[in-house]
Amino acid sequence: MSAVRQFNTRAHKALADSQLQRALAKARSGFVDKRAHAAASEPDFEHMRDQAREVRQRALANLAMCLEQFEQQVLAAGGQVHWAETPDDLRRIVIDICRDSGARAVTKGKSMVGEEAHLNVALEAAGITPWETDLGEYIIQLAKEPPSHIVAPALHKTRGQIEHLFRDAHRLGERALDEVSQLVDEARAVIRERFLNADVGITGANMLIAETGTAVLVTNEGNGDLTARLPRTHIITTSFDRVVPTWDDASKIIRVLARSATGQPITSYTSFFSGPRAGNEQDGPDQFHVVLLDNHRSALLGTEFETMLHCIRCGACMNHCPVYQAVGGHTYNAVYPGPMGAVLSPLLRGAPQDDALPNASSFCGRCEAVCPVRIPLPGLMRKLREREQQQTPAIASRWLLRLHARLSRHPALYRSLTGWGSRALALAAGGRGRLRRIPLLGGWSRERDLPAPQGGSFQQQWQARKGRG
């Protein structure tokens, strides 16, 4: 089955899923309104976006140097840096560290790189229990599903579905779980025990600061901090492109991150981790590991897709995407959904020419309009479409497109053909104003009528009128 058809199969299921549609409807206006309010109430917001983009550009332009400096500083602080070329490497590195720490259970903060590597599956296979601590991640772990959004992983779940998951997993008896607050308290109590008992904590990082070898973690729940600071070992799974040169640079990213994601000026918690705890510190890990994943990212540097590495994972593009809002994240069948995923996921899968995702966009441009670092997402999707055209065998639809282009280069010929076509279609409509079924245009007419032409093309009619006049 073609990639587009597979996408459509999932999309049709999503459109028919009333629970999913309910959940998506809840999310839709919330994210959009909150970001709009945050942008409107900060006079410097556009300037902040420019500053953030400049940081990302400068970081990538000096990437090797930033990374070497980051590594040196982590080592100097008593931590370790590991380099993973593939998701498989990352899994192996993490499991080795867990084994060395004698870990039976690990707490986990949200890490998209961890998702990229399907870390939980690997941990379980190695006999290590992963405990997700971000509420959204916890919910989808219970549901045995991947995240559907990079910031709100359980966005596709309704309150009722979450209640069911909790009732199945926790011994609840008759306790009520009708209110959102009760659901949150329930998870809090269960996960609190886990924070106190985990041997290893695994988190992602929103940024890495080169000048001091510091990992920055941004959360609203505080789960990331408890994951990072209570166990004996802290493992950070991230990708090397998260690096920024300085603390001041990190501030510039922080300013646009939460505003774009949730409309907050800053998240409740923004934490800076630099190495294991010092002797006189009561909390903090004894071991501090940073695992840097490549997974095809280095191949994007210096190419037309380099700007994709500017992404700060705020999720604004998917929050504002009408396609994402219609079908949800799982339809993309990729770790990264939505507009940024439509570019990044094919590139990380390594065979972008066979992917439906760059085509699954109406190019409405809303993603680019809200992206805090101004990544030209539709432009990048278009470039992926160009690759597809260059690298895959031509199918009927492409011959049609090419034929159209050929004709278009000869306006006089084009004019006579459209004149003829316009008449023919008008005739076929037979005064009904529209056509319900059109040969060769099933893609159109399955969902909508085709308004009938008014009879004769504009160019023909214009010529005729001018001729008369």
Partner: protein, 230 residues
Amino acid sequence: MQSARERILGRIRKASGPGQAASAGTADSQALIAAQPAAQASLRPIDDVPAEFCQQALAAGVELHYCDELAALPAACAKVLDAQARLTVSTAQALAHMHWANSVQPYVRGSIEVGLVQARLGIAETGTACFDSRDVPSGLLFLSDILLVVLDGRHLVDRQESAWQRLGPVGSALHLVTGPSRTADVEQTIQVGAHGPRRLVLFLVGGGLAQVVARHTQPAPSLITLASSP
């Protein structure tokens, strides 16, 4: 055989960019990666730092109080605290050695009713309190149901960049805390008290900020009751 590190860095260096070839750690490379184009003008100045701090902190859900000097703090705390509430403190902080109306215990890991901590700095642009892991154990900030934060009114800065300057080197963790813990993971409904504090009560101490705080906290905040008490 090359290591993964060398292969990854090799690929990165091969891609163009002025800094890819230079080696890290030199003064040159430091300057290069921190150098910003002149067009990157700074953000608009924050004229009234305390007022901005109060406004932003309140917007983030912080409960704000003021007292003139540290000696007045126990009385101020007693006024807003339930008499049975037990305070947990960091022994590394001077607060641990003051005389409190409520019972006080040193921090050990576990669930905590009321954590009492002193922040190093406040950042006005977001109403944020900064904690250095050398003087406040991370767990105390995140395991407390209610977090009482003491912040010197003279330790307020406008923006993060100024905070980094003022702070200098910090411990293995620096925590920026802005309001209580929260989540929106259930149907995008904001719920406070996800994993960390359900309430964040901040005492600004000194700096002559009585009027600023009063102006921003009308009507007067109510008595704090423990979430767990009936």
